[in-house]
């Protein structure tokens, strides 16, 4: 079985969010970059677990980005995976990225494509669905559990107010979230081994961007908290009822 795991580079969860160039670019100075947590903790680790259960499984990682994404993809390789592919392109929009990943997927004939449920920077939740459509494959989003038997996947996905169990034959695309697997820390053997794993660089195929960022904004600063004395908590109830009018 061949699994393709989509990996994205995102700012660390605690990074200061600021913009430059007239609010058109993310101010990346001094920002620590990480593997998008959903891609790492859930998609990649679940793929590694599947390989541990069936060692004949081959895991490829794919990312779209410049040479500055390589530390991230090496870190992903240190966790697991057999080889990585970097599409050497600037990020335009989600459809552009999905088009590049779909191209890799077509030539690699994968049985399973995993993405994280969204990236923590653009919060688009779009890549998995777009890749699935471009490949005419079924798509199960927001999966919390994934099991495999005889090329049939049993997947638990989140629905409004609960969960649903689906069965789907491979090949398919799955977006992964909490529940799929537990976060792992790469060990020394993994880090050393990652250095010699193949990291192929491919040039992008021609693809359209359907959207573009005009400008970013930051939310207005909060007016500040209105503190109520712990001796008169009923005053808080009055404020919520009469001033904030929330109940």
């Amino acid at each position: 079985m061949k699994i393709l795991v989509c990996i994205s580079k995102t700012p660390d969860t605690t990074a200061k969010i600021a913009f430059s160039d007239n609010n058109t670019k993310f101010a990346a100075d001094g920002v620590q970059w990480i593997i998008n947590p959903y891609d790492e903790w859930y998609a990649l680790v679940r793929a590694i677990e599947l390989k541990e259960a069936d060692p004949s499984t081959v895991i490829h990682l794919v990312t779209v980005g410049g040479a500055d994404t390589e530390p991230i993809i090496r870190k992903a390789l240190a966790l697991g995976g057999d080889e990585a592919i970097r599409i050497n392109a600037d990020i335009h929009d989600s459809f552009y990225i999905a088009s590049q990943i779909a191209e890799v997927a077509k030539t690699g004939s994968y049985d399973l494509i995993f993405t994280g449920k969204e990236t923590i920077d653009y919060n688009g939740s779009s890549i998995g669905g777009m890749v699935a459509e471009l490949l005419s494959l079924p798509y199960v989003s927001l999966a919390t559990k994934f099991d495999l038997a005889n090329s049939v996947a049993t997947i638990v996905r989140e629905i409004d107010g609960g969960e649903e169990t689906d069965t789907v034959s491979l090949p398919l695309v799955v977006s992964c979230q909490k529940g799929m697997a537990e976060q792992r820390i790469p060990n020394m053997k993994g880090i050393m081994g990652a250095r010699s794993k193949p990291l192929k660089v491919q040039e992008p195929v021609a693809a359209d961007a359907l959207t573009s960022v005009v400008a970013f904004d930051l939310p207005p600063a909060k007016a500040g908290v209105k503190l109520v004395s712990p001796d008169t908590p009923e005053e808080l109830v009055r404020l919520l009822h009469e001033e904030a009018k929330v109940f």
Binding site: I17, F95, N123, Y139, G162, V168, G179, V214, V237, L240
Partner: protein
């Protein structure tokens, strides 16, 4: 030309988030000088003509047992047929769980630019620009959609609904429905609770509550005001509360009218899931808790002393 709104349903009932999407779609249509229409897939028991009050002129129904369960590929093909038949130039989804599954597929199928997690009406003064959440609620991006057909997935609870008198024309839409590849084998819904993703009011607890036996302080208040209950990540990880209640960076991101946090310090990861709440209340005994910086109202005090008094005051207010 029209604006087409996908109306998500569950067990025959249109979801609340879809009323919001319908009303948003009607406002977009008004802005563009066209009409707003809706499409509902599967067997429906609700009176869909009444969706006229949200501004829809027409609702297309596709009654087919296959469409009672989501297979995003099948749904996408049906909606694409409706887009062609209605000549829709804008398609609106709620960016709820099913919307996140279908809207990107439709975008790729129609090569129509998608803005997911939109929080405002489009700015059509110069092109078609829609504001959306980025960086987990810490910033916004204004996205230009550069294609003839545009898709907007509206972030739930981000648009104020205004209703009018009106009845929508209801028409069966004859669509080709493919055989699904996804088979739903079980559905497990938490009954009797407000689903967190749709809740307007949320009461949430953290490690400061010291143990699951003290959760009455959360659930009692929630019951009185009709709120959903939530929790911080450590609480779900220790197993004090179920995982589906976890809100934050890796859990659910919510934007209720009220987020009432008890014994939660407010780490940056927790804030990423709740910072779009309209009113945030924090009860914490540590005056240095970072959550107070993001809060609108707060009490620096011991939850075990403060909360029973708050619950009593709400009970009096509600006459319960």
């Amino acid at each position: 030309m029209s604006v087409l709104v996908f109306l998500d349903q569950s067990e025959g009932h249109i979801k609340k988030s879809s009323f919001e999407a319908a009303n948003y779609g009607a406002r977009v249509a008004q802005q563009l000088g066209v009409t707003a229409e809706g499409i509902v897939l599967g067997n429906i028991t609700d009176d869909v003509a009444s969706l006229g009050k949200y501004g829809l002129k027409k609702v297309h129904t596709v009654k087919n047992d296959t469409l009672d369960h989501l297979d995003a590929q099948v749904f996408t093909n049906v909606i694409a047929q409706a887009v062609a038949a209605t000549g829709a130039t804008v398609v609106v989804f709620s960016n709820n769980l099913n919307g996140k599954s279908i809207a990107p597929r439709l975008s790729a199928k129609l090569k129509a630019g998608l803005v997911s997690g939109a929080i405002a009406l489009p700015d059509t003064s110069n092109g078609f620009v829609v504001k959306k959440n980025v960086f987990s609620g810490k910033a916004f991006a204004n996205i230009a959609v550069n294609t003839a057909v545009k898709i907007i997935a509206l972030s739930p609870n981000s648009f104020n609904i205004t209703t009018t008198d009106g009845t929508a024309e209801v028409a069966a839409f004859a669509a080709t429905v493919d055989a699904p590849k996804v088979t739903v084998t079980a559905i497990n819904k938490i009954v009797g609770e407000v689903p967190l993703s749709e809740a307007e009011l949320v009461v949430s607890g953290g490690r400061g509550l010291k143990g699951p036996e003290n959760w009455g302080l959360v659930t009692d208040l929630a019951k009185l005001i009709g709120a959903a209950t939530a929790c911080s990540r450590p609480v779900a990880d220790i197993g004090w509360r179920p995982h589906h209640e976890h809100v934050g960076q890796t859990g659910l991101a919510i934007a209720p009218n009220l987020y009432f946090a008890i014994g939660i310090s407010g780490s940056i990861q927790h804030l990423a899931g709740v910072n779009r709440s309209k009113v945030i209340v924090v009860i914490n005994k540590d005056p240095e808790a970072p959550f107070f910086k993001a809060a609108d109202y707060g009490i620096v005090g011991d939850a075990f002393e403060v909360m029973p008094k708050i619950i009593e005051a709400v009970r009096k207010l509600k006459g319960a």
